[in-house]
């Protein structure tokens, strides 16, 4: 099973590498990272520019990065449904859930790539055009450079969990809706609808979408001279994201198994 999933994953990687849209995502996130300098200017002024790094990273991944990730994943899955390519794929010795696992792994890989590109881009811009020093306020050194780097690394690791849950969500929607455009629209529409009502229904703490930027909050707080608080955010983010990932992947497998691919 693992071998078949791995082979399927490698095939998906190859297919993704041939698509032009795959390269649009990294270009957009890098452009976003640079473009956010307009909102958060930096300079060589002996003041730390971690604020820019925090702002550029979280804003890029939560807005442009998220949109690209959803489009990429839904296009990967729904596109094969609408074109009928999935029927050819499943002729090969691969089970339906293995096929979905390979797709999901591809989406997770894409999320990692976007995140790492955003991180590298933000730090590079800050190094090139700003100052990377310790955070100090009122004459006191609050957070040293190493401490900031470590917090950022924790943020990268933690931020991948809700992004991977987003991948599973997109895969699930794509298995339900025929047609790439419809799948993208449905995924985005449901997302926006839930976002607008989640606080009124008081369900926000139980939705993975509430934690997409939360892992960057401690780093942002440290950049602003605040005392960071990882808990209970890290715990909630992990549990909710992993739970959502498992739920959406299971629902996607169930939906694909029940689906008549000949229709």
């Amino acid at each position: 099973m693992i071998r078949r999933i791995w082979i399927g994953y490698c095939v998906e990687l190859t297919k993704a590498a041939r698509r032009k849209f795959t390269y649009v995502g990294p270009a957009v996130v890098l452009a976003s990272v640079v473009g956010l300098l307009l909102q958060h200017p930096i300079g060589h002024n002996a003041r730390s520019d971690y604020g820019y790094i925090a702002f550029a990273t979280s804003s890029t991944l939560d807005v442009a990065g998220l949109a690209i990730l959803l489009v990429f994943v839904t296009a990967q899955v729904a596109g094969e449904f609408s074109s009928g390519a999935i029927r050819l794929t499943l002729v090969r010795p691969i089970l339906r859930y293995e096929y979905l696992a390979a797709k999901t792994l591809l989406g997770m890989t894409y999320a990692v790539v976007l995140t790492l590109l955003t991180a590298v881009g933000a730090w590079t811009v800050a190094f090139a055009f700003g100052d990377i020093l310790g955070v100090s306020f009122g004459g006191d050194m609050r957070h040293a450079t190493g401490e900031m780097g470590l917090a950022y690394a924790y943020g990268v690791g933690l931020a991948l969990l809700p992004q991977w849950a987003s991948v599973a969500y997109a895969v699930f929607i794509a298995t339900l809706v025929r047609g790439t455009g419809a799948a993208m629209g449905t995924a985005a529409g449901i997302w926006i609808l839930v976002e607008m009502i989640k606080y009124r229904l008081k369900i926000a703490p139980f939705l993975f979408s509430s934690y997409l930027q939360a892992p960057w909050q401690p780093f942002t707080d440290m950049a602003n001279g605040f005392t960071p608080q990882w808990m209970p955010m890290a715990w909630s983010c992990s549990v909710v994201s992993v739970g959502a990932f498992v739920l959406f992947f299971a629902l996607a497998v169930l939906a694909l198994y029940r689906r008549n691919l000949q229709a």
Partner: protein, 490 residues
Amino acid sequence: MIASIVACMTFGVVFTPQDIDGIRVSAPNPLTGNVRKLFLQTDLDADGQTDLIVAGEAIFQRDGVYYPDQRVRLPEIPSPCWVDAWNGTLYFRTQDRLRVFRWTSGVWQQLGDDPLSGAHESSSPCCGNEKQPVPYRYLYDLDGDGAPEAVFPGRDGLYVYALRNGRYAESALLAVYPSVRIDDTYGASLWPAAQRRLTPVDTWMGCQVAVEGLRVTSIERFSVSGGAVRFRTNRYTLDPAQGFAIDPDKTVSTESGLLPSYVEPLRLHSGDSLSFAGTRVDSLETSVPPSSVLTTSVSADGGTSVQTVRTPSFRVNGSFVDVNGDGRLDMITHTTGLYGGGVRETLVRFLSQTSVEHGISVYLQNAEATFPESPTFRKRLAIDLDQPPVYRSHHALAYYAGGLIDVTGDFNKDGWRDLVVRDRPNRLAIYLSAPQGFGESASAAIHIGPEEAFHIVDVNDDGLSDIVISWSGADERSHSRIYFARRDRP
């Protein structure tokens, strides 16, 4: 009048409401959260119960209740005048006289009427067109002999009037003010010649003066380059044998280190060294949406070292309160949950969330006059804003102004300051505190109208803080309802 006796909750504190018009307090001090009573408390009829002096009237307390038919007019005194109370005796200071009255056998008996020589030099008693005597504290028992001295700020210093042979007379003029300085903010142009002017030189002086027994302290603030400030403190000792004149041999001058511009002198502990503390609200313009940052700084060692805490929060009242009753002010910081979670999440929250997570952190001051790095205890609250923040509801604006949370009251007299939160537009929740922190759930709840404001003050002087709810009526007069705290069960 007693509207009703309502037992709001049990668990050691019960609140009894009573409408008493005329109870007014000042706006809270942003640093300490304390309000200044704009009424007086004294036992006028010597029955062992504290009576009140409000807006031209005295209200007698009978069996723990301030009945409306127990109000009497104060003596007719030409306005404007200051009124102060001392051991059941009222002192009315007009522009040039000091009149003393006492309630005896159901009438006001005049005990004295003394001219205040030199009083025309002192500042005007009232700042507005008050027709009623304005409660103001100017009586101090400097020498501890039981008879108060009257101290008034004047142009050249503090005027001290002492009782001699049964009459008040000027005793000393305390020259405790710093010398005036030339205001150098006006520059003179030399060129072009047409713009040359003879600029009048402005001089000014500003200081804070504290009177504590025979010690008078004046504190002067200097701005230095880089936006920092420095404070010079002069401590004077009065000699009662010399008519309260300053003993020059005992005058001590000290100067603080460089401090942030927003700090001010504050007595954080009983030690001799002066303390400084302050808060500043900044806007993080680079965040989306621009968020508010509260910086709290404190120096408890005379300005040698400064401890600073930054939190995402709006302006709050009461950043330094003696939470545990040990005589040392403790530091309280606030954290709003309005901005956390990133750009998209913040925008969604502003558009749709009707409540906000609010955190309170208490840093207890230790015996070395320092504060711990991390809070001693925390409290998380959910505050209902009535509408999403984007609508800027009345309740949300009160939250931004720091008017929903108060940590200055001690309702059960256990020495620990209790927490009052207006967590809904129509509810005040009271959380009693203990060494482990504020209670998990509210111990009492009080109804409050949407247009009403609340303050914490001990109205009946029984040592238990009371809750004053005030509002403006249709007659545009200020009304107030007092929720008297009682420790016994209903």
